[in-house]
């Protein structure tokens, strides 16, 4: 700012700073409430993976061989659910709020911008936790899943923190999609990605080439990380999966960044 400006810093007198922790907490709390009260969101993100698990893991499990299918599916449907929560929360939720001017109003308030994103990420994490814990519970009670306590903790943490790359992907979609086309766009990315990464049908049952293709997809790596916790992954090294996920996150953030600048240049009424 130019030094000649009549700077009135003394006007900033009342009170100090708002409590950052409180802002984050409230933002997260209301973001969560907002999502959970939207039946469509809650149903499609929480119930869908659970429904799939019950269907494929419990009811239609023909118990062939001694492949630990019920344990396996906790990891893959967990990944599926976490991914859905993140993609819909960011990709659809943010697009709608952005397109209609709500995000603009928030940006005009003194809200620290990161609070908004942090709240959305933590909401995705909470949904991830709810999904993976429900799957575990159902698996243990009805599916004969036996896991050590540390394995459960580790698997849930992997899934909960694994939402980050998908939040980044959702963010990228959020800056490019229009409010009305966002749901369609998210679905068309979400569903093929889940399928090709072996979240519905175990990846080793997919055609060979698709198995190879899967290694380029982030959901594959997250599901493998979760599977490795119980020792039934495909055997790639932990680091390889983690690096792949970090790489994907950075790539999506880069795309989001381009979308953000593009968005800034647009004329508003």
């Amino acid at each position: 700012m130019s030094a000649t400006a009549p700077v009135l810093t003394n006007l900033v007198s009342r009170g100090g700073q708002p409590n950052l922790v409180r802002i984050f907490a409230k933002e997260a709390k209301y973001e969560f409430l907002k999502s959970i009260r939207l039946p469509v969101f809650a149903v499609s993100t929480i119930l869908l993976p659970i429904m799939f698990y019950v269907l494929f893991g419990l009811l239609l499990n023909n118990k062939s061989g001694d492949f630990p299918i019920t344990t396996f599916l906790i990891a893959t449907y967990g990944t599926f659910g976490v991914m859905g929560a993140a993609l819909f929360g960011f990709g659809v939720g943010m697009t709608v709020e952005r397109g209609q001017g709500w995000l603009e109003l928030k940006r005009a308030s003194p809200m620290p911008p990161y609070a908004y994103f942090a709240a959305k990420v933590s909401t995705s994490m909470i949904f991830g936790a709810i999904i993976s814990l429900s799957l575990l519970l159902i698996g243990i009670v009805f599916g004969g899943v036996h896991l050590a306590a540390w394995q459960m903790v580790k698997m849930v943490s992997v899934l909960v923190f694994g939402c980050v790359p998908f939040c980044a992907l959702g963010l990228a979609i959020g800056y490019f999609a229009k409010p009305n086309s966002a749901p369609a766009m998210v679905n068309l990315i979400y569903l093929p990605l889940s399928f090709c990464s072996g979240l519905w049908v175990p990846v080793q049952f997919l055609p060979k080439t698709l198995q190879h293709f899967a290694t380029y997809l982030p959901p594959y790596h997250l599901s493998q990380l979760a599977l490795n916790v119980v020792g039934i992954g495909q055997g790639g090294s932990q680091w390889w999966h983690v690096r792949a996920l970090i790489g994907a996150t950075l790539l999506f953030l880069g795309i989001a960044r381009i979308g953000y600048s593009r968005d800034q240049g647009k004329l508003y009424g």
């Binding site: 149903v43 239609l60 062939s64 009305n180 068309l188 399928f195 175990p202 495909q234």
Partner: protein
């Protein structure tokens, strides 16, 4: 487009009849229908997302998967031989067309459980071999048979009937041939459900339906225009995907074009009906989105777009076969790949018509304009 030019024709001053003010024009009976159809098609054409997801995306998907699966080498069966007395010997017989490794017993069984190997060969101390395989996995069954052949032949078995084999990669039997009709079916479902369900709910949310209702527009014209716009789009989808498949992947189109067109039309109308039903009451696009997902997702998974639904357990088969997308996919594969006749598709067409008809009737009953 045809509708476009008709619409323009309509807007020319019509012949003057007595009693009609010279300024005004007189609209023909079908003017409303043609204009609605023209408007709908223009809106679709001007929506880049629609163009991408309906036309470009399936082609990209076909291209990606098609290239990925083209010219794939004959499957190499992965076999684990449990370490033991005869292990090295046995593995030595499995060099041609197999990937065999010698593993300790526990590791071998673990690898088998995880699907890393298709078959475990356990040499017994008495010189015989034990195969550990999973009858529910086709590649496992295949591995057992071919490993057995290789070992028997390697150990000096003489075949009573001399045979020779050659690998078939003829058009018509490859994955891409299976895939393209599946993509077409999936696309017809997706664009029907989204293109109609979503569009109607959006119009309702914008209060545009209410605005139309306050004009002398006939409701049947409106619904017919929406339906016909689907058919126009369907023809474009059909020509694009089949043309693409035929040109790039030499997809054999063995059935009569008219039969294929008829099957697609029934499919498109079925999903138009389901789309209309999904949109009959929802007033917010979020709700419509949820409903459409709930309807589409099971079919996405079960109806055999990407892989055969035969892989699902037998108890599920009746349920899967009753789904409209299964019927559409089967009918499309049968007509396109096998040249099946329209009559042969009777039961499948019946399933689709039932779904479409029932949902259309329910939709008309429940539909809310305002």
């Amino acid at each position: 487009m045809t509708a476009h030019s008709t619409a323009q024709l309509e807007s020319k001053p019509a012949d003057k009849k007595p009693g009609i003010p010279a300024k005004g024009r007189r609209n023909s009976h079908w003017a409303g229908y043609w204009h609605l159809l023209g408007a709908r098609l223009k809106e679709l054409r001007r929506e880049p997302e629609v163009v991408f997801w309906i036309f470009a995306f399936p082609i990209l998907l076909a291209l990606g998967l098609g290239i990925a699966f083209r010219n794939k080498p004959a499957d190499v069966s992965r076999v684990a031989v449990v370490a033991g007395t005869d292990a090295e010997n046995t593995a030595g017989l499995l060099t041609n067309g197999f990937h065999a490794e010698v593993l300790p017993r526990a590791a071998a069984l673990q690898a088998f459980r995880l699907g890393k190997v298709d078959l475990v060969v356990i040499p017994r101390s008495d010189g015989s071999l034990e195969y550990e395989y999973d009858p529910s996995r086709p590649e496992s069954v295949l591995a057992k048979a071919s490993v057995n052949d290789a070992i028997q032949a390697g150990s000096g078995r003489k075949d009573v009937v001399p045979t020779s084999a050659h690998i078939s990669s003829e058009p018509g039997a490859r994955y891409i041939d299976f895939l393209i009709p599946g993509l077409l079916g999936m696309n017809l479902m997706g664009s029907g459900m989204w293109g109609i369900g979503f569009a109607l709910v959006e119009m309702r949310q914008r209060k545009l339906l209410k605005r139309f209702l306050a004009t002398p527009m006939r409701r049947s014209d409106f619904l017919m225009a929406i339906g016909s716009s689907r058919l126009v789009l369907m023809i474009v989808e059909l020509v694009l995907l089949l043309g693409f498949g035929a040109l790039v992947f030499k997809l054999p189109v063995r059935g009569a074009l008219l039969t294929i067109l008829l099957v697609s039309t029934v499919g498109a109308l079925t999903f138009a009906g389901l789309g209309l039903l999904s949109a009959s009451r929802a007033s917010k696009i979020e709700t419509a989105n949820g409903i459409i997902n709930v309807v589409m997702l099971p079919m996405w998974v079960f109806s055999g777009c990407f892989f055969s639904y035969e892989r699902f357990p037998a108890i599920m088969q009746p349920f899967i076969k009753a789904l409209p997308l299964t019927a559409l996919n089967d009918a499309l594969r049968s007509t396109i790949l096998e040249g099946g006749s329209l009559r042969a598709q009777g039961s499948r067409l019946l399933i689709m018509c039932l779904w479409g008809g029932v949902s259309f009737i329910l939709a008309l009953k429940w539909f809310r304009w305002a």
